[in-house]
Every structure is written in C-alpha cells, then in structure tokens.
C-alpha cells in the first residue's frame, strides 16, 4: 500500500505500522518502503513517516541517509515552522555520519530570526551531544550564544541544554543571570523548573550564606525567642548584606509558588530552602501543604521533601500540623511518610494532640501502618522527655493487644525506651517476662530476653525462671532468639551462678551442636570466657565487665536525618543515593565572588519592551523621538542589573493596572495593535510571522539608540494605553521646586488620550499613603479631547522614603489604580556648598553615616564630565567645586527633612574609583550608593 499513488492508502498503511510500533512489534523490515515516502505532500503521512524514521534510523543507518536531503531542504524553507520541524527530526535521527550536518544545522538555526527555530536548536543540542560528545566545545559556543537570547521561548530550552551538556560552565551564566531572573515568570512551566534548579546551584557558588550570622544554620532551635536574640546579634556584627542579585532571584521566584504545576512549586520551595534567609523560608510551607491535596504520587514526593525540611526547620510547618493528619483513604506509603513528618514536628506543646492522633492510628486495619505508628510513638518518647512515661504506659497497655504484630512491635520499642531508665521500670520488665509464653515473633522474643539479661539484677527471681523455660524450648527457637538465650545464660551465670550454673552449661551444650555456625561460635566463645578453667587467661577476669557494661541507649533517629545534603526535590534526594548526572549542590563560598561579572553592557540588555519600540512604524505615536528613548532606558532598567530595590520596583509599578507588566504582556499588546492596523492589507498569520521577524530585525537599531546618553528626565509609565482604555499617562520627576509646598516633590504627569472619544473630569481620588506622606493633587482636567495631550503637576511628600503613593486616577467613566514610586535620587534637591563647607559637613557625618564602595568605572565613563553627568542623572544633586581633578563632589538635601546628602567620587588609575556617600539618614544613604554604583558602572 505504501507504493500506492493515493495518499489515503499510504496513510492507512502508515497508521498500521505505527500501531505496530506502539505495541512494541518489530517493523524494521519495512524501512525502505517507508523512507521513500518522506517527501510525501500529505502532512499526516509525513508526520507518521517521521515517527517511524526516528524509531528505526539507528538500526538502518545507510538507508536513513536517503532521507537527509529532504530535511536539509526543509531547513531552508521560508516558513519558520517547517524549518523547526525539519531540524527537530533531523536531530532526532541517531546516525553518527550526519553529525557534521547536524552541527551545521544547529549553528544556523541558533541564529535564525524566529525564536521558535532557535528554541528547536536548543532542543537539538543535547541530542547531538549524546550522539557525539566530542562536539562539546562547539556546542558550548552555541549554548553561549543562545543563552544571550532574550525571548522567553528560548530561555527554558537553552538552560536545559546547558544542564545536559556543560553544567560545570557556571561562568556562562554570569552575564545572563539577571535576564533569566527577570524572564522567569513568563517562561513556560517546564523551563521554569529547569531554570530554577540551575539558578539554585548558581546562587550557591556566587552569593554568601544569608544565615551566616546565625551559627551553623540554626539547627534545631527555630523558635521566636531565639530569633530575636539572633537579630540582636546580627545588629552587632551586621557585616552581611544580601547581594542585590540574590534578592532579585528570591523576589522573582516567589510568585511562582502560586503555580498550578507541582514541579514548579517544588523547585521554588527547594530554592528558598537552600538560599533564603531563615526568616523568609516560611513562605514555602503553605504552598507545599497545598500540594498535599494533589495526586498521591505528588504527595509522596512532596512528603519526602517535607520530612527532610522538618528536621532542619521544624517551626516552618508547625502551623500546618493538622494538614499532615492521616486519612483512612491514604495509601500506606503516604501514611507512613505523614507519620514521619508528624513525629518530626512533635514538641512539648503539641505532643498531646499528636499522641491522641497516634492512638487512633493504632486502631487502623493496615498493619504495616500500625507498626510504623508504634515506632513513631517510641521516637516521640525519646525526643520529648515529658511524655516518656505516658508513652511507655500506653505501649505497655498495647502489650495486651490481641494482635501479635502490635505486641511484638511494642516490645521492641519498649525495649529501646527502657534502656534509657531501667531502674524505674522493673515491673514492666516483669510484665514482659510473662509475655514470653505467648509471643511468637522472634524479634520481640529476642528483645525481651535481652532486656531480662541486661537488667537481671532488677528481677533476680524471674530471670532464672525465664532461662529455664527457654532452655526447654531452645531447639525450636529462631537463630536470633537462640543467640539471646545464650547471652542471657552468660549474664545470669556471672551474676547468679549458684542458681543457673547447670542451666547455662545445658544451654551451651545445646548450642555447641546447633546447625548455625554463628551460634556454635558464640557458645564456644562464651564458654571460654565465663567458665573458669586453668587455661583461661586474664580475659575471664573481665568477663563480668564485658557483659554487664553499661550500654548507651539507642538514639531513635529519623531516616531523613542526613538527606539534606542532596538538593531537595531531586531524584537523588528521593532515593537517598546519587543518581546519574546529579550535580552536587556546592557549599556557600567563604567570600563572595566579584558581583560585577553579572553586570551587562546596556546595549546588550535591550529586550522585552525595548523591542516594542518599532516606534517609527506607529505613526500615531504621539511622542517626538525623545520620550520613547527614555521609555527604553526605564524599562530595561531591571535588566541592566539595577538590583537596587527602588529603581526596579519603580519600574514595575510603572503601570500597575497592566498587571503582569512583564515584557511579554506589553509585547502582546503591541502585537495586537500591529495586527489591527495591518489587518486590512494582509492576513493575520503571515502578518504575525512578519511582525516577529521585523521585531528581530529592528533590534540592532534600537540598541543603537539607547547608547545615546539621556541626561533628560526619565519618564515612567503610570497607565498604559491598553489598560487605560485609550488614556495613557506617563510621569517624570521634574526636579523643580513644587511651589505650593516646599516639602513636596514635584511630579509632572503627561496625559495622552488615544481613544476615539473625549475624556472628561480627570482627577485623583482615594489616595492611599503610608503614614506621614502627603499628596497635593493637580487641578481637575475638565476635558481631554480625543487625540490630544496635556500635562499637569502634582506634589507628593514621600517623607524621605521610597514608599509608593497609591491612588486612583478617575475619569468620568472609569477609575484606575495607579501608584507612583520615586527612585531615591529624586527625594533630594541640590544645595550649593563651597569646598570648605563640604569638608566640614562631611567630617560631621562620619562613622555610621558614611558608606563607601569601591567600583570599576564603565569604560565610557572615565572622564570627569561623564561622571558628573551620570551622577546628576541618577540623583538630584549639585556639583561642589573642588580643587583636585581626581575627585568629584556632590551635595543635596532630602526634600522633607532637609538632611544633607554628600557624595564623593574619587577616581584612581585604570577606572578604579571609590564612591562615598555621607548622609544622616542611613537608609537613604545605602539606597543612593546602590543607585550611583549602578549609574557609574554601566
């Protein structure tokens, strides 16, 4: 049928072949007939042929080569989807001869215009690597190139390739770290998992341990009181400041705890567990508990991880204790894991509730589970002294249970407990001695015998009697019981030889002829040791010491105790053994490696919204060329590695109503815009492709624009025109005195009405502020006709903090939630000082009020002029005249409180420089240092 001319027949034939493959039957004989159809026009036939080809190409290498030319042709197709699928199949054919062809194809695809093809290239990399590991170096080059890609589509796949090919090349990540962090939320879920795991490892090598001041990671004490102390200590030492990049990672991963994908949630949880400061780890508990309501397989994995976490950080899960209560419908393995968690969580305050739960479990019909519960009770009893007696009593009552398994398990646990304080419990030992008549489970019998032997002094009357009974049944016992009988006999012989001498002899004689050589050996050894003869040397003198030495009580430990050296959530952690390809989680470095390696040149970081900027193609755009320029620099800020809280947050809040606010979403908006415009001429599909390609093309231009230094004021977006239904608002800090109130910062707002209808009654309502902050609203704008723009100035007193001012912007129809957040540099106004005044003021602001940082100046910013320009752009300061040309000084005052802010940049050789900021308000000072550092290094 495959030779037929009709597609329908071919399809039918292919379907049958695929069904054969699916059932695992061998269909390799048909290879030549199938391969012929690789060039078939029918898409479904083609796809099925691909399926077949990928499956059998390895076995029929020569014939498979026939199909290669088809794919090579496909790689040149103008349609990106065809290019991608050709690459996908080509790379899936595991034939060594075509390695060079594959290599070439991957390299080409990696610089393809379409992100989808680039993604496919990323997927192809590990395939080629597994086929021919010698290509590694070349592949790393491709990976490096793809890592620099800025689309979310590619990010996940390339990190996956990175993990498979060269996980040790952590240096490739430096430049892309911030970008990955920022893109993370928009990457598809599977990519998120891979990226988060990789970043965890990266962070472990690049940042300092945030818990370093708390001594050994704060093992078992996770109580509030301890924490307060810790904090006090910290204040004294306080050298640790979290790297802004570390903070960036933690902040950007947190929302992913809300993901529907359990794997993503787990990945974030392990990231927080391994990287976050102790006080912040708690946030993951809630999300993990949520996963417990998922499928039982998910529960199984999550509980394993929770069990490990509870050992280290018990406090975290204590509020969720009840979520770990066992349901009668849980499978046994889940029950046992939950039990483990409950036991780990037990402490003085909740032990009574936990024990009450445990009682219920003992009644369960699932015997494995009951046994595990008894063990758990034993562990609780050893860990928490207060309840030891209660537990012991409870367990003793269980001895009268009719189920033998329960009894046996209790005996074993009681034995362990008794070892801790035998004196008090001779009656329990007596009680157990009685049980020997009934219990059949060998382990339990052995335990009882051992107990009697060990503490025969507490039960002098019963012990010989038990030995007598045992001697009678010796031959019928299990090995482990026999050994204990011999032990018991030996111990009794030493303490009470009068009564037991003959019995011991008898037992030893029986043992001498036992089938098991262990028992024979033991008997021989013991006889030599305890029975005094002429030959026996010095050793027998010490027999008593040997046998009746005080044995340390066993410690009942969780099997999860040492698992945390594996990365949580990994397969290795689950199996408690290293799986192939597992990457060790490195220890924190002693001192932080240079953070500047993550700094990126500005032009490289143009991404996301910057791409939106085919501004020129939108004739309706109301800005002259300057504002979009500014928009780019503002929105690319997080990427340029601002790290500093104030700036990046201000960018995020730029248009709060455009909730996701990510680059992608705004991009999508733009896409739609584009579509609407071009719809008339062309069909959607073609257009979209063009759009993406034109976007790719336009990239270099944009980056060129951004290099131009913008000493102009930065514009921030307050309301995007999509969310504002045509109304768009931008704001900037005009750096002019706000006349109605000198303590306020002037915020200039620029309204543009892009809608087709007029907007009326623009005004502010419902201002929500932090205490102390004030707002002076602008006068209501009565009418903003369609297509027109206007400006207004409002004053905000930020109280010298970077807290956002939230309010509603109302029109006659709608209300929008917006917020304005100032960068710290805008919270000051310039003052003019002379050099002497400056020095005098500076000398009064030493010590705590002085913060200095060493930095390497950006190549483009080595002259005085550039430094002055960058500093004054970042902060509203004025230059102080200065005699030396190695130093630039700036002065300003905070707007509200009028505290002096002094900044000095002292340049040294080869771009090295020192930045010093003196300010009475330390918070302002620290934030300003961060901002200035950023401004000067990039």
């Amino acid at each position: 049928m495959l030779d037929s001319n009709k597609d329908a027949l071919k399809l039918e034939a292919m379907k049958r072949i695929v069904a054969m493959i699916a059932r695992g039957k061998n269909a390799s004989d048909l290879f030549p007939a199938v391969v012929k159809n690789v060039a078939c026009k029918n898409i479904e036939v083609k796809k099925l042929v691909y399926v077949y080809l990928v499956r059998y190409a390895e076995e029929q290498q020569d014939l498979a080569l026939l199909s290669i030319s088809t794919f090579q042709r496909g790689l040149k197709d103008p349609n990106q989807l065809i290019r991608a699928s050709a690459l996908r199949v080509l790379s899936s054919i595991r034939v060594t001869i075509i390695v060079p062809i594959m290599m070439l194809a991957i390299k080409e695809a990696a610089s393809d215009m379409s992100p989808y093809v680039r993604k496919t290239a990323a997927h192809a990399i590990p395939k080629l690597y597994s086929l021919d590991p010698e290509q590694k170096d070349q592949l790393i080059e491709v990976i490096e190139k793809l890592l620099a890609d800025k689309t979310t589509l590619v990010a996940g796949s390339v990190v996956m390739a990175f993990e498979e090919v060269c996980p040790e090349r952590i240096d490739l990540i430096h430049k892309n770290y911030r970008k990955l962090c920022n893109l993370l939320i928009d990457v598809e879920e599977w990519g998120q998992v891979v990226i988060i795991n990789m970043l965890t490892r990266y962070a472990r090598t690049q940042f300092l341990n945030p818990n370093i001041n708390e001594g050994g990671g704060g093992d078992k004490t996770f109580y509030c009181s301890d924490e307060d102390e810790d904090e006090d200590e910290e204040k004294e030492k306080k050298p640790y400041v979290m790297d802004p990049d570390h903070r960036l990672l933690l902040r950007n991963t947190k929302p992913l705890l809300q993901s529907r994908n359990a794997a993503v949630v787990m990945a974030v949880a392990q990231l927080y567990f391994h990287l976050a400061p102790k006080a912040e780890v708690g946030v993951i508990a809630k999300a993990l508990v949520r996963l417990l309501r998922s499928h039982s397989e998910v529960q199984f994995v999550v509980l394993q991880n929770v069990a490990t976490m509870t050992i280290k950080r018990r406090g975290m899960f204590e509020p969720y204790l009840k979520s770990f209560y066992i349901r009668s419908t849980d499978p046994t393995q889940i029950k046992i894991l939950k039990l483990e968690v409950l036991t780990n969580l037990a402490n003085e305050t909740n032990i009574s509730t936990i024990l009450r739960e445990f009682q219920t479990y003992i009644k369960s019909m699932d015997k494995d589970f009951v046994a595990a519960t008894i063990q758990a009770i034993g562990r609780c009893a050893t860990n928490i002294g207060e309840v030891r007696d209660t537990c012991l009593n409870g367990l003793v009552q269980l001895l009268s249970n009719r189920d033998e398994l329960v009894v046996a398990e209790s005996v074993v646990v009681i034995k362990k407990l008794l070892q801790m304080q035998p004196e008090k419990h001779s009656d329990i030992i007596k009680h157990m001695a009685k049980l020997t008549d009934n219990i059949q489970v060998p382990m339990a019998r052995a335990s009882i015998l051992w107990l009697i032997g060990e503490y025969c002094e507490h039960v002098p009357k019963i012990a010989p009697d038990v030995l007598r009974k045992m001697a009678k049944s010796f031959t019928n016992e299990e090995d482990i019981v026999k050994l204990q009988i011999i032990n018991l006999a030996a111990k009794l012989y030493l303490t009470n030889s009068k009564q037991t001498k003959l019995l011991t002899q008898y037992v030893l004689n029986l043992a001498k002829y036992d089938q098991n050589y262990d028992i024979r050996d033991r008997a021989r050894f013991i006889r030599q040791l305890i029975v005094p003869t002429e030959k026996s040397g010095a050793l027998s003198k010490y027999a008593k010491k040997l046998f009746l030495a005080l044995k340390p009580a066993p410690v009942l430990e969780s099997p999860f105790k040492d698992r945390d050296h594996f990365q949580l959530g990994s397969l290795s952690h689950l199996l408690n053994a290293k799986a192939g390809g597992y990457q060790e989680l490195p220890d924190w470095p002693e001192s932080a490696p240079d953070p500047s390696v993550r700094n990126v040149e500005v032009k490289e970081s143009v991404c996301g919204p910057a791409r939106v900027c085919p501004v020129n193609t939108f004739p309706t755009n109301r800005h002259s060329s300057a504002p979009p320029l500014i928009l780019i620099s503002a929105s690319s800020e997080p990427d340029t590695g601002s790290g500093s809280e104030s700036v990046s947050v201000s960018v995020e809040s730029g248009s709060p109503s455009d909730s996701e606010e990510s680059e992608e979403s705004s991009e999508s908006d733009e896409d739609e815009e584009e579509e609407e415009k071009e719809k008339k001429k062309k069909k959607k599909e073609i257009k979209q492709m063009q759009a993406s390609e034109s976007r790719a093309r336009s990239k270099p231009d944009v980056s060129f624009q951004t290099i131009a230094p913008s000493s102009a004021l930065k514009n921030y977006e307050l309301l995007h025109r999509i969310t504002g239904e045509g109304l768009s608002v931008e704001y900037c800090f005009s750096r002019q005195a706000f006349s109605p109130d000198a303590n306020m910062v002037a915020v200039q707002m620029h309204f543009t009405n892009n809608a087709t209808s007029d907007t009326k009654n623009l005004h502010i309502e419902d201002v929500k502020l932090q205490s102390g902050m004030r707002v002076k609203e602008f006068a209501e704008i009565e009418l903003l006709p369609a297509g027109e723009a206007t400006t207004a100035v409002m004053g905000v007193d930020f109280c010298d903090s970077t807290q956002a001012a939230n309010f509603q912007l109302c029109t006659h129809t709608r209300k929008f939630f917006v917020s304005i957040q100032p960068p710290v540099g805008e919270l000051m106004r310039p003052v003019f000082l002379t050099e002497n005044e400056f020095k005098k003021e500076q000398s009064q602001l030493m010590g705590m009020n002085e913060i200095s940082e060493n930095l390497t100046l950006d190549a483009k910013c080595r002259n005085e002029h550039a430094i002055v320009q960058r500093v004054t752009t970042a902060a509203n300061l004025s230059r102080v005249p200065c005699g030396s040309d190695k130093e630039c000084r700036f002065a300003g005052k905070t707007v509200t409180s009028g505290s002096l802010v002094l900044a000095t940049v002292a340049t040294k050789d080869e771009g090295a420089a020192q930045l010093t900021v003196n300010c009475e308000k330390m918070v302002i000072g620290t934030m300003l240092v961060k901002d200035l550092l950023l401004a000067l290094t990039q």
Partner: protein
C-alpha cells in the same frame, strides 16, 4: 529527561510503548512488576523505583500505570506532573482515558506523545496548541475521514506556539459567545467519635468553559476575596494584578480549563453540612453486633443535601450485615468488608437512618478496630465557604458574551468520622 514511556494495564500487560531517545528494552518493566506484586493495593506501588541502569517513575490513573523510564537526575515531580498532564490530555481528547480508548486511537496517542516531548523534554503541553496540531477525534470527523481520506492532523501550521499567549489558539470564532464558571468546593474533614471536628478544610476550584471569539481579556472579581487563603493559578492569570487588587485578570484559553484552585483558611470555621449519629457495638461473646446510623443536615442555608453516599470499612471479623435503611439502598461486600449506603437526598423532616445487626465470625473475639465512616455529598447552588463572584467584565472585543456562574459544594476525599477510644493520657 524522559527516555521512554510504557503504559501498563491492571493485569500487568504493556499495551503501549514510546521511546524518545534510543530504544529501552521492555524488560526494564520487570522491576516495576516486581514492585507491583509486592504491593498489596494497586496504589501502594512506590512512584519511584530504582533499577541498576534506569529509574522508573510511575503514575496510576484510571487503572492504568504510566511508567516513565529515566536515565539520569531529573526532579521526580517534573516527571510525575508531566505524566498527569499526559493523562489529562488523553482525557480531554477521548473523553475517557481507558485502555480501550487508547488502543482505539493509538495513532492519535502516538502523534500526541510525539508533540508533547522532544528528546524527553516537554515541548507543547497546552491543550489549545495540541488541538491545533492534532484535531481530537469525534464521531463526525472519523466518518468524514473514512469517506474523504482527510486527516486528523491540522492543515494549518500551529501559530499558537509562536504567540505570546501560548495557551490560547488564534482565530477563534463562535456564533454564541459564552463564558461559564463553576465554583466547586470540597470539604475535607475528620470528625472524632464524639462529633467534634479534628480538622476541616475547604478547597475549591473555579473551572471555566469559555467560548469567546477573538482575544478577549477578562476580569473576574469577588465579593469577598479575603476568604481565599492560598491560591494557585492557571498561567494565564496576571499575578501582579491579583496581588495588588485581588482581581483575576486573564486572557482565557479556549474551551475548558481550570482557572484557579484555592484553599480557604482553616481559621474560618468550617460548617460541616451534615451530622452523623452512630452507634456501632460488638458484644463480647456473642456473634452479633449492632449497627445504627442516622444522618441529618446542618447549616446548609436552606439548600438540599444531595447524592449522599456513606461508606464504612467494617472490621474483618464481620461476616455479614443485615440492615434496614429508611431510604436509599445499601450494599455490603463480604470480601472487602466495605459497607456502602446510597442515601440520595436528605429530607430534613424525615432523617435517613440505617439500622440492623451484623453477624460475626463464630468464636472470634470482639474486633478491636473501629470502623471509619466516609460520607460523600453534594450541595448545588451553594459554595460552603460563602465565596461569591462579584462581576465578570470583558475587554478587547466588541460583542456581549453570555455569562454564567454556578456554585457547588461536595465532600472531598474524606469527610470521615473516626471512632476511637482513649488509650493513654
């Protein structure tokens, strides 16, 4: 990443295999069968099994084991989550996910698996994209296909994969534009013998069926969003907006999807909608036990409690039960000792009860396990937590959609009442 996938049915036959890298021999599944034999219950098979060269990660759904073969380190949840996604996709495509359905549609299954994973790494898992690539089989389409010889594979190339909203397919058109939201809440509670609640929690989901033309942008707001303690979203929901305003803003996927699942904080008191009066006793020495159970509604705000199903695992010593229900029917399985009582609707005027005797094995002593009672129920038109949707708005498109919201409460995995005696303390 994922190397191969085997589907194993309840009787232990491999009925489908798919390899994404080199072929892994079937014999690797022997380790799985071993573990399966060791486990007493089907769900007790450990999800992760380690073999000398591979690791097997399995998921049991619809009585089919989905066994993935892994060769190197990979987060186990990653694989488990993916397998569940595969099952969901099958269910979405074929309506049911049974061995028969998979065998009937083996080609579609194969095409799907091929698209979902590339070299073991997930590629397209969004059902909207998959449906563009491979059309789900319907009766009509199968007929047309057999007559005309056309295909299931989408003629057009999937543009959705390229778009920035990967979950929505492009070019959606409907004549009737509708959006329906179902708020379904489940109560999970454990109640002790005396009737006091040990734990109770409410979980809810909002399932949506959205059939809207074009690229609608929806916002959904609640009257009382504070109730939601812990939420997880479909990727389409804009997280920042939720953080700031507690409003769900999203561009929905086309068709059915789960918008949100949430948890209502346990601080709020959970009102259990039913109460149980029970009296189950066994007398020492006699081979008879008494069984007496009465149900009644509690705090349901006037809504009827429907589809009530009571089940109880009786002790092993029970041979048979001779009971008399005041309404509904009951069954007792003498092998598994499972008693189920299908009550139906509870009438507050005449409370349903189940009374009678149980016969025990002669000579056996009084069973000491206490039976647990599980109750399932359903309440229409009410979300037990009191969650209410305030309004649904649409932007981005011009037409007026038809909107509908439905509430429902049901019992979760276990509204159970454990009976126990106090042992210590």
């Amino acid at each position: 990443m994922i190397h191969s996938l085997f589907l194993v049915n309840a009787s232990g036959d491999i009925f489908l295999e798919k390899h994404w890298k080199s072929v892994v021999s079937r014999s690797v599944c022997d380790y799985f069968f071993e573990a399966q034999e060791r486990a007493t219950e089907p769900e007790n098979v450990p999800p992760v099994i380690s073999t000398p060269h591979h690791y097997l990660i399995s998921v049991l759904r619809h009585r089919i084991y989905f066994v993935a073969v892994i060769q190197s380190e990979v987060p186990p949840l990653f694989v488990i989550e993916f397998l569940h996604r595969v099952v969901d996709t099958f269910q979405d495509y074929f309506g049911v996910c049974t061995e028969a359905a998979i065998k009937d549609n083996v080609v579609v299954v194969y095409e799907l698996l091929e698209e979902m994973l590339d070299n073991g790494f997930p590629l397209a898992t969004e059902s909207n994209i998959l449906k563009e690539l491979i059309k789900p089989p319907t009766i009509l389409r199968t007929m047309v296909n057999t007559i005309t010889g056309s295909t299931n594979v989408g003629e057009q190339l999937p543009t959705g994969q390229l778009s920035v909203v990967p979950w929505r397919r492009t070019g959606v058109k409907y004549t009737n534009n509708e959006a329906y939201f179902d708020v379904v809440e489940e109560i999970d509670a454990i109640i002790d013998k005396s009737g006091s609640t040990i734990t109770a929690e409410i979980q809810g989901v909002i399932d949506a069926c959205v059939k809207l033309t074009g690229m609608p942008d929806l916002t959904l707001s609640f009257m009382n969003p504070r109730l939601l303690d812990d939420v997880s979203f479909h990727p389409c929901v804009r997280f920042k907006r939720w953080e700031a305003e507690r409003i769900l803003s999203f561009i929905p996927p086309d068709g059915n999807f789960r918008l949100l699942s949430y948890h209502v904080s346990s601080q709020n008191l959970v009102a259990i909608p039913v109460y149980v009066k029970h009296n189950i006793t066994f007398r020492e020495g006699s081979s008879q036990g008494r069984f007496d159970l009465t149900l009644g509604p509690k705090q349901t705000m006037g809504k009827a409690v429907e589809a009530v199903l009571v089940s109880s695992q009786l002790p092993r010593g029970v041979l048979n039960a001779n009971l008399n229900p005041s309404q509904g029917t009951y069954t007792f399985d003498p092998v598994t000792k499972l008693l189920t009582w299908d009550v139906g609707k509870i009438n507050p005027q005449k409370l349903p009860s189940l009374k009678g005797t149980m016969s025990l094995q002669a000579g056996a002593s009084k069973p000491d396990e206490n039976p647990t009672i599980n109750i399932q129920l359903k309440i229409q038109q009410m979300a037990i937590s009191g969650l209410k949707v305030n309004r649904l708005d649409m932007y981005g498109e011009k037409y007026k959609p038809f909107k509908g919201i439905k509430y429902m409460t049901k019992a979760g995995k276990s509204v159970s009442s454990y009976l126990f005696e106090f042992l210590f303390i």
